[in-house]
């Protein structure tokens, strides 16, 4: 079916979200809690857009709004920009040591650095987008989750202790937009979420990459063991490239 986004006619499949439809057609809508791998979460509310169905117009979150009828969408109006500006301000108030949020705040202030009254209840850069929780869920360990509620909401492992389920894969730290997850790494160790892991060296190039727990987990889930399991990303890619080249000669 066809809908219009910013006066542009686009093709959509029923059930697709406005955000997906927009991005597919090169229309950008800002997001903070969205990731292609996990879909929309409806948490940050940066993606609010105006939707007109017949005579009614309302504001919806484009990352969770499913399209089932012909609608007209406006992705940026003065009202919408005000919302985005306030959301960024509110998040920056709560994460003063985040360079990412500082930069975003400056952008939404038109390049000027206006005075912000930081909250005495601030976090160390976390904006509670929960992409880390999603990543951990996808990996399958679910070692971290959002705990408590309201203004006390935060991300942690159960009891704020080292979690038996955590394999130290650092997928959470990688996906975090504000680098809010503390990770200490040396050649031999990785410390994340209060847990110390031993890093394993690549069987081919000798570079430290994954944690031992991570490899054990992968082995248990995929059956990949032995030499195969000791190869780092790069070496595995090279190995596959060599294998493939046998077919392309």
């Amino acid at each position: 079916m066809k809908i219009s986004i910013d006066h542009q006619k686009v093709d959509v499949n029923p059930g697709e979200t406005i955000l997906e439809a927009a991005r597919k057609n090169g229309i950008d809508i800002p997001t903070l809690c969205y990731h292609e791998a996990y879909g929309g979460q409806g948490m940050c509310r940066m993606c609010m857009v105006e939707v007109k169905t017949g005579q009614t117009t309302r504001m919806v979150a484009s990352c969770t709004y499913p399209i089932y009828q012909e609608i007209e969408v406006e992705t940026s109006t003065p009202a919408i920009e005000k919302i985005r500006k306030n959301i960024v301000t509110l998040l920056y108030r709560s994460s003063p040591s985040s360079e990412f949020m500082e930069k975003l705040y400056r952008e939404y202030q038109g390049g000027e650095m206006r005075d912000v009254q930081f909250s005495p209840e601030f976090s160390d850069r976390c904006i509670l987008c929960r992409l880390c929780v999603k990543a951990c869920e996808e990996i399958g360990t679910s070692a971290i989750s959002a705990i408590y509620r309201g203004t006390d909401k935060r991300i942690s492992t159960p009891f704020d202790e080292a979690s038996a389920a955590c394999i130290g894969c650092a997928a959470c730290a990688q996906v975090c937009p504000t680098s809010a997850i503390d990770i200490f790494q040396s050649d031999t160790e990785r410390i994340i979420w209060n847990k110390t892991f031993t890093r394993v060296k690549c069987g081919r190039c000798g570079e430290p990459f994954a944690t031992r727990e991570q490899l054990e987990y992968i082995a248990a889930r995929t059956g990949i063991e032995g030499y195969e399991a000791t190869l780092c990303e790069d070496c595995r890619k090279k190995k596959i490239a060599i294998q493939l080249s046998q077919f392309t000669d």
Binding site: G42, C44, A79, I83, L90, R93, L128, G150
Partner: protein, 601 residues
């Protein structure tokens, strides 16, 4: 001495709602039982513990039928006299009767008392008259007549049409036309379907749903069975707030009784309808009153709402078509079916049919539950039924709609209460809480109170609500401490607007209401806090300064007795003085002074 007296079905109803229980009504009930056994009295039915009569201020309440006598503030010391005089000879004990403060006359029947006269009970029709543990009591008062009629001779479509015609709108706060909700659900094709009762009454100061679940659980059950028939549901859930242990108990007993009598289970009353109900205890979360959060909670998750672009009527519990209604909405259904939609629709206003149960609390003489036709004015409720403001103090505002609502000032007391008028006034109906406030209430502090409440109860998922409430709380706390700035007012309005448009659920969207409505009607109080570092109501401790006006002080010493820090001194009959060093601004002196001698700077 052996004496057998036939009391001809004399019934003694002892109110055992939570309020009266706290005041010792269970002891009264037990003393009555004991006393009656020992005098060897033969009775058909003697004592009955009932649910809340609504007039908690005057409890424990004891009603004697068929004499139609209502005794108030009964203690165990009164029991022997009640047995000896009233039960054995029918003599009325005057000192236990309510004395109308205006006419000074003692009133025998509760029907004649101002608190009850203007009430019209539909949802509360049985409470205080029946033992909630007895299904027979419910049946004796037209109970289960509606479902019997429906299963025998009415089609599901006809049931839905009747509910639509009645004009019933959701009593939980949303005010959505109940019949239309049922119609939308019945039009879906997916099976199975579910019926849910939202008993997660979270508004502080509201206890209507608690009273219904405790005092007349069958009316909720019957309402749900009727809906299950109308929309084709096979299972129901009553989600009860964790704190309501008596409601959970009484609902459990009622469901068991309903099953035994064939009103729940397979092939109800010989029809093809199979439906049963489970109780789910809430975990203590105000946000679970929001329907998608409630659904998430039943499913075994944290109570976080989701965007409602597809309604629960289409995809609700476990992704299936679901009807969720509030306790009071369910309580109205059997009556609508029994007496007809037209009769129900004849009560109330154009846009809001029927009655509404309000919990009238705070600075009002007759605190308790009242049920009145929609369209009754706030003045009638607060003054005629409520008896006005105690202590000779001045009315300041009435807060309606709980944390999602707003404050309505004196100038709007003649507002006819219904869904739309309250929304137009910047508040909302909500679940029916009416918190009356007097001149000793600071409206800025009230805004702070509600924001603080919501900051803790918010699920914390979406930015505008979580961070917006955090920012509002900090700002309001600052104002109450004397650190406010004029820019704070614009900031509150600006953030408030974002919360109203961008929040994920109704909790966030309505969270700014108490702030915005107090800013609208009581801007002068905010300005006094900000510009003068002064709290006119004498509540915000850092901005409050109590002193005694020497000319008005009679030296009676009452304040000295009340002061918890021994901070007031003076000779008998001489003007007293407050020691500002010791004063903790608790306000007990000003609350108790009969001569209005304690002043706020």
């Amino acid at each position: 001495m052996q004496s057998t007296i036939d009391l001809d079905n004399r019934m003694i109803l002892v109110c055992c709602g939570t309020g009266c229980l706290a005041n010792g009504s269970m002891e009264v009930y037990e003393a009555l039982n004991q006393g009656l056994t020992s005098t060897n009295v033969q009775v058909q039915t003697y004592t009955k513990p009932t649910g809340c009569n609504g007039w908690c201020e005057k409890g424990p309440l004891v009603k004697i039928m068929p004499d139609d006598i209502t005794y108030i503030q009964v203690t165990i010391a009164d029991v022997p006299e009640i047995i000896e005089k009233t039960l054995q000879t029918g003599e009325v004990i005057n000192r236990l009767l309510y004395r109308d403060p205006k006419t000074k006359k003692r009133i025998k029947s509760h029907h004649e008392i101002e608190f009850y006269k203007k009430q019209h009970k539909i949802a509360l029709r049985n409470i205080g008259e029946i033992d909630p543990a007895s299904i027979q009591d419910y049946i004796d008062r037209d109970g289960y007549k509606a479902i019997t009629k429906v299963l025998a001779a009415v089609t599901p479509t006809q049931v839905i049409d009747e509910v639509i015609k009645s004009g019933l709108r959701g009593r939980g706060g949303g005010g959505f036309p109940t019949g239309l909700k049922w119609k939308a659900c019945a039009a879906t094709t997916a099976l199975p379907r579910y019926v849910i009762c939202n008993g997660d009454e979270g508004d502080p100061g509201a206890f209507m749903d608690r009273s219904i679940m405790e005092g007349d659980p069958h009316t909720v059950i019957e309402g749900m069975i009727i809906c299950a028939y109308a929309i084709g549901a096979s299972a129901g859930f009553i989600y009860v707030r964790d704190e309501y242990s008596l409601a959970v108990k009484n609902l459990g007993i009622a469901i068991d009784n309903a099953r035994s009598c064939g009103y729940l289970g397979k092939d109800i009353l010989g029809s093809t309808l199979s439906f049963d109900i489970d109780i789910v205890r809430g975990g203590g979360a105000f946000v679970c009153g929001e329907e998608t959060a409630l659904i998430a909670s039943i499913e075994g998750n944290v109570g976080e709402p989701r965007d409602k672009y597809v309604f629960p009527t289409e995809k609700g519990l476990w992704g299936q078509p679901t009807i969720i209604n509030n306790v009071e909405s369910w309580a109205n259904i059997p009556v609508i079916i029994n007496e007809g939609a037209q009769k129900f629709a004849a009560i109330g206003t154009e846009g809001s049919k029927g009655t509404k149960v309000f919990s009238l609390v705070g600075k009002v003489i007759n605190t308790g539950l009242v049920e009145v036709p929609m369209g009754t004015t706030l003045r009638e409720i607060i003054y005629d039924i409520g008896g006005g403001i105690p202590g000779g103090r001045k009315f300041k505002a009435v807060q309606t709609g709980g944390p999602s609502g707003g404050c309505i000032p004196d100038s709007m007391l003649d507002l006819q209460v219904d869904f739309d008028t309250l929304t137009e006034a910047g508040s909302m109906m909500g679940s029916g809480g009416l918190i009356v406030m007097d001149d000793r209430t600071c409206m800025v502090e009230i805004a702070r109170y509600y924001v603080n409440f919501l900051a803790e109860e918010s699920c914390g998922k979406c930015t505008p609500c979580r961070e917006g409430l955090k920012a509002m709380r900090e700002t309001l706390e600052g104002i109450c401490k004397g650190q406010g700035k004029l820019e704070d007012i614009d900031f509150l309005r600006d953030i408030g607007e974002t919360m109203q448009t961008a929040s994920l659920c109704a909790l966030g969207r309505t969270a700014p209401n108490p702030v915005l409505s107090t800013l609208h009607y009581f801007a002068d109080e905010y300005l006094a806090h900000i510009n003068e570092a002064r709290c006119p109501a004498g509540v915000c401790r850092d901005l409050t300064h109590f002193y005694i006006e020497a000319e008005l002080c009679t030296g009676c010493g009452l304040c000295v007795k009340q002061c918890p820090v021994d901070g007031i001194s003076g000779e008998k009959k001489e003007p007293h003085v407050i020691d500002q060093e010791k004063c903790i601004q608790c306000g007990e002196c000003i609350n108790h002074c009969k001569f209005n001698a304690v002043k706020v700077r």
